[in-house]
Structure formats: C-alpha cells, structure tokens
C-alpha cells in the first residue's frame, strides 16, 4: 500500500480541515491539474512527462528540482517496468515524500530549551510576514504556558514597531521597544538583558525586512546574530527564515544568502491561504536541506500550524475523488 492510499483512509482532524480551507484553491488547482494530465494519456510517453514538468513548475517547485524529479521519475518508470498511467500516480506522490524526507526523520518542532531562555530570531525579505508570524508564535507559546518576550528589532520600516506593539497587546505578552533607536542590535541587546534578568522562557526577535543582495543590511543581521550568540549560550536556538508562498525562484537565493550570515534552522511558509503553492520550499529543502517548520494560513493569531508533510503534499496534489 502506497502512501497515496493512506490518504483516502486518513481521518480528517481539525488541522487537516484548516489546511483544506486554506489550500482549497491550491488543491483544486493542482490536483485537478495532475488528474487531468494523467487521465489525458493512455500510455506513458514524453508528452506526459512534459505536462508533469509544467505542473511542477506552475507550483513554483524550482526548475532544477523539477527537472531532477522528472528524470528520476523516468528512471523509475524504466527500471520498475511501469507501463500504465494509473501506476504512475502513487509513485509520483511517494517520490514527493522522498524528495522532502530524503530518508531522514525531519524534526519540525521549535527548539525550546527545557531550562533557561530560548531565543528565536526571525529573518526574511520585505513584506513576507515576519511581524505577524512572531505574533502568532507568541500566541501559541503563551497558550502553552510559556513566558514570552518580544524584541522590536525592526527599527527601519515606518510603523513596524507600532505594529508589533499592537500585536503584543492583543496577544498579552511583553515587548521591548527602544524609541528612536536606529541600531537594531541595541534593541536586541536590551531585550536579552531583560529576558535573562526577569527569567522569561522565550525571546522572539523581530528584524527589518531586507533584500538578500543588500550587503550592509546583511552585515547588520550578522551583528544581531553575534550579539545574541554572545549573550546567551547556544543562542539563537532557532533562526527562522520567513518565505512568502507567492515567492518564485528567488526563494532559493534568499535561503542561500540568509544562510551565509545566520544559522538558519528552518523555514516558515506564510500566506498559504492564497492561491500560491509555495512549492519553492521543496526546492529549498532539496538544495539547502532546510526543513519547513510552520505554515501561515491567514491574518489571525490562530492561523499558524506546524508543517505537516502529508497535509502539504495532500494540499498540493491530492484531493477527494468526488471533488
């Protein structure tokens, strides 16, 4: 029994429903596509593979990753002697899992220390949803009984500090703000001192959005990272790269550049409630081995879920038969 069959039997829980709401369009789009492609062919041929390539490309799963994937699929077809189109579908899904898992058990839990302070740093380009994601994580951790402190480290964008401050009030967590500060490292430093002194469990550090090709801004981020590492042992315990689901191939460049200046531990994929598939995270995993930790599915503070590969690929390719 392939993983594909497991899906049909899987009982849908709350989380799955949320995915469905969020990714309904996605699923209709791609599953419809995949099914339409496969049902359009009586035998496996080059045109079928071309169509599959297009479907992958359309989901923003990187070009290189897609081409490798299709090559591997062709190889499978040859080696295993598959000759009917219906046999191909479960193999595609299984290979998608393989592409992400690579034979590993991928841990997507947030690395919270059993004792002492955990520091998380959030990075990414402009407009991907860093501040909102921090609010969502603060909300989740608070619900789990953690004492959470926020550091308003986006000292650049107009209104960014206010935005996080409003979220802090809504969620009911403390925040460190340094009015008029221009050096984000100094804000982070202050927050670190407060978090240590007053025994917070988790410190979430917001940073300004920065394009990965801006050298000075990347250096600034490097410095923030250094300050955290100096003040708290083994910190930052998570450095999370926020990627917008609408992002295309540039996501790869983002991952590479941010990995150069910080120790990225995982990706958070935001805005997955839209029509975009965010397939670039599969390429990011494929090329840079970065796991996807969480996904954002809306603008409310509850709209954040741990990444679930089965659900994600389910959202990408598998829908109910009757739909």
């Amino acid at each position: 029994m392939g993983l594909f069959d497991l899906f049909k039997k899987k009982k849908k829980d709350e989380k799955m429903r949320k995915y469905e709401l969020g990714m309904k369009k996605t699923r209709q789009g791609l599953m419809g596509k995949l099914k339409a492609i496969l049902s359009g062919y009586e035998s496996i041929n080059e045109d079928l593979f071309d169509d599959l390539t297009d479907a992958f490309i359309m989901a923003d799963i990187g070009v290189e990753t897609t081409l490798d994937f299709i090559d591997a699929l062709k190889e499978d077809e040859r080696v295993k002697g598959i000759n009917s189109v219906s046999e191909l579908q479960p193999i595609i899904v299984d290979k998608m899992f393989e592409l992400y898992l690579k034979g590993e058990i991928v841990n997507n839990n947030l690395n919270i220390q059993k004792e002492g302070l955990s520091v998380f740093l959030f990075v990414g380009v402009n407009g991907v949803g860093k501040t909102t994601t921090i609010a969502k994580i603060a909300y989740r951790l608070k619900k789990e009984g953690k004492r959470v402190l926020l550091a308003a480290g986006d000292t650049f964008r107009a209104g960014a500090v206010d935005q996080l401050e409003i979220w802090a009030q809504k969620v009911g967590v403390d925040i460190v703000i340094k009015k008029g500060a221009t050096d984000p490292s100094s804000v982070i430093f202050e927050a670190l001192q407060k978090a240590k002194k007053e025994h917070y469990d988790v410190l979430l550090c917001d940073t300004a959005g920065r394009l990965q090709n801006k050298v000075n801004l990347m250096k600034e981020l490097e410095k923030m990272n250094r300050v955290i590492a100096r003040e708290v042992e083994n910190a930052p315990h998570e450095t999370l790269l926020i990627i917008d689901a609408t992002t295309g191939q540039n996501g790869l460049s983002q991952a590479e550049a941010f990995m150069e200046v910080t120790n990225i531990t995982g990706v958070i994929l935001t805005k997955l409630d839209g029509t975009s598939k965010g397939g670039i995270v599969l390429a990011i995993r494929d090329k840079y081995n970065l796991p996807i930790k969480m996904i954002g599915l809306g603008e409310k503070m509850e709209d954040l879920e741990y990444f679930d590969l089965e659900d994600y690929i389910g959202g990408l390719f598998i829908g109910d038969e009757e739909e």
Partner: protein, 469 residues
Amino acid sequence: MPFESLSEKIQFSLRKLTGRGKVNEKDIEDAMREIRVSLLEADVNYKIVKEFINEVKVLALGEKVMKSLTPGDQVVKIVYDELVKLMGDEAVPLNLKKAGMSVVLVVGLQGSGKTTHVGKLANYLRKNNKLKPLMIAADIYRPAAINQLVTIGKQLDIAVFQMGILTKPQTIVKKGLEYAKDNGYNLVLIDTAGRLAIDEALMQELVEIKEIARPDEILLTVDAMTGQDAVNVAQTFHEKLNITGCLLTKLDSDTRGGAALSIRYMTKIPIKFTGLGEKMDEIDVFHPDRMAKRILGMGDVLTFIEKAQETFDEEQAMKMAKKMQAGRFTYNDFLDQIKKIKKMGSLKGLLALIPGIGSQIKNLNIDEKRFVYIEAIIGSMTKEERNNPDLINKSHSRKSRIANGSGRSYQEINALTKQFEEMRTQMKALMNMDEEQMEKISKGQASMPNMPAPKVKKGKGKNKGGFRF
C-alpha cells in the same frame, strides 16, 4: 550556476552562436532550450515561455538568420525585439486629469509594498507633475498600517487623511475625497489593505471603494519576486476591478523579475512604475524597452542619464569639468560630488544601469557607508586644507588632527588622501584626452589612464567578452 541573472543566462546561450558563422537548426534548438530553462528560472509563466520560444524559433529559423554572416547577432536582436513586444512597446503614462482632482487607488496582496509606494508615488508626482497630493489611509486591518502611512507623510511633508481603525474604509475614502476637494488637493492616493484576490468579502470592499472614488488609475502592486502565481493574482484583481496599471516593487532585489513579463503578456495590464529600494525617491517609470535591454545585459543608459541630469545641472557640470581638466579639483568639489551621487540613489543601483557593468557588479560589495566616513574626514579638514589638498599630503600633524576629529584611523586618512591624488591625476588625463581615445575606453578596448587593465575572468563562457548589435 543557479543564481545567474536572466541576462547572463541568455547571454551565455546566445554567445555560443555569436561570432561563429553559419548556424544550423540544431544550434538554434540548443539555444532555445537554454533560453527556455532560463526564462522558467526567471519565473516567467510557463505558458508564456512556450509561446515565446515558439515565436523566437520560427523567426530564428528564417532565411535571414541562417544565411547571415552574423547569425548570433540576428538571434539576439530577435530575442530583444520579442522581449520588448512581450512587455509592451512603449512606456505607458499614468491616467491623470489635465485639470481637477485625480484619484489613484493602490491595491495588492499583503506585503507587496502598497503603503511604501503610495508614499513614493505621491512624492514623485508632486515633484514631476507639480501636483498637490493627499494620501488616504484606508487600511484599517493591518496593525499600525495607518501609523506607517502617517510616518511616511511626515517624512515627505505630504498630508495624510485618516480616521483611525474603527471607521469603514468606504467611509474613510468618501470623507477623504471630500476633504481633498475642500482643501484644494489635486491628487489623491488611496492606500488599501493587502488582501488575497480570492477573499470575496475584501474584494467586494474594493469594488465599493472603486465606486465611491471613481479613480482615474487603479494600480496593482506586484512584488517582483513573485513566482508563477503572479498571473493568477493579476487576473483575479483585474476581473474584479479593471486594473489600469501595475507597479512592480522590490526590483532592487536579485530577482529576475519574470513576473513583469507574465502579467503584461497575459493580462495586457501595462506596468507603469517600478520600485527600486526603501528610500522614498527610489521609484522609476517603467520602460519596456529599457527593461528588455537590461534583461539582455545591455544596461539602462537612459535611466542613468536621466538620474544624472536631475542632480547635475549643465553649468555646474562645465565648471566642474574645467576644474578637473586643470587638476584643480578640491576636497570641497569632492564632497559636492559625493552628495550628488548620494542624491541619485545607491551607488550599486546606479552602476547596474551602466552597460557592461550590470552583470559584473553582482558580486561586488559596495559599502555605501564609506561615503559617510569620507564625508566625516573631509568635514574635519580646515577650509584651507579643503581648497588646497597639498597642505595635508605631507603633514603628519594635519593628518593626525583630521583622524582625531573624524573618528577614523590615521591609515584611513592616508588612504583617502592617496586616493584623492590618484583621482586628480586621472581626471586630468581623462579630461585632456581626444575623442578617439575616449571612444576606445567606452568600448572597453582601452583601459582608463593610470588604472590596471580590467581583469578577464577565466571560466566557462561566462563574462568572456561581450556581444553587441
């Protein structure tokens, strides 16, 4: 080589054809395959890529190319022409009223840069169209979105109309427009909340705002880094609102920006403006032909010249040239130049516009802070020293004093004075050159006086010589 720009990729695939004499059908096929992958990696929609390749291929296989002595150049020209065609032949201006109040509605997905670009656009139109702008803050959903616009308004000294977050956006817009009419504003820009194109309720809100505001222009902001979904997003917004133009933001990233091509081609919505940074003056009119040249690595000379013209007036430039020629260039002049260059935008952004440099500076780290240090150093010089650079050159005590005053190291002062001297010599040489010599330099056949010849990168094809047509 995953991160080459589209221009580099296309250049590479076409370079194989350039200067090789006769080509056969297989050569063209190979080049097309590379262009295909390259365009896909640039996030051009896969459907468009197919059509584009088919069109280029038919043209490339034509007799003119096959029999030409310079088939490579011909193919390059075809690709360029098709790219221009794909993006619309010419720049499309904003729809603004000749007289009376114009209204611009700005819409888009979350995080695409609406608020920032409402500010940039207001600033741009105030300066270039001599309009009196009012910005309406109608994003009541994202926390602090209104504060953000208010802050930008303060920075630019442009009025912002807001009613807090408890009033419906439709009402805010209505009252805002009344306020604008009553107070003599002739340009109104409406900032709206980011929303998903599939969010029925919020899209309905925009439809209602549109009815109230009757905008002359509805601009959709699109992040230049958007992937394949760009077309869907633009199409959905277009269906509901009849978008009149696109504003392509974050084009200062290293994205290849294929979304621009896709949107224009699939929806016919013209791209009207591009956002090129976080500073309020980093916005430019979108020129399809220049963009095509840029994609092909031919540089965007016109934008560069326009930017330069904005900051340097001719008379000043002549005066400066004379000074350079006579070797009388002083620290004051230098400071002046730095300030002007800074006014034109980031140095790297500027350099990228120059033909032949674009692809070379990709990995070049330009520390823009160096300007600040230089300004500090010059600031610590006395009036006499600034006008007579020779005073500093041999005086240890003067250098020490400047180092102390500017907070920079003695070595840095030394380095600067040395650089300055070299620069003066170079300028003198450059200004006294004849036309023929100048021509050679601009063609890259000769090196600048007193400068090492440009290093030729060794490697597979990439950056190995250029092409032109």
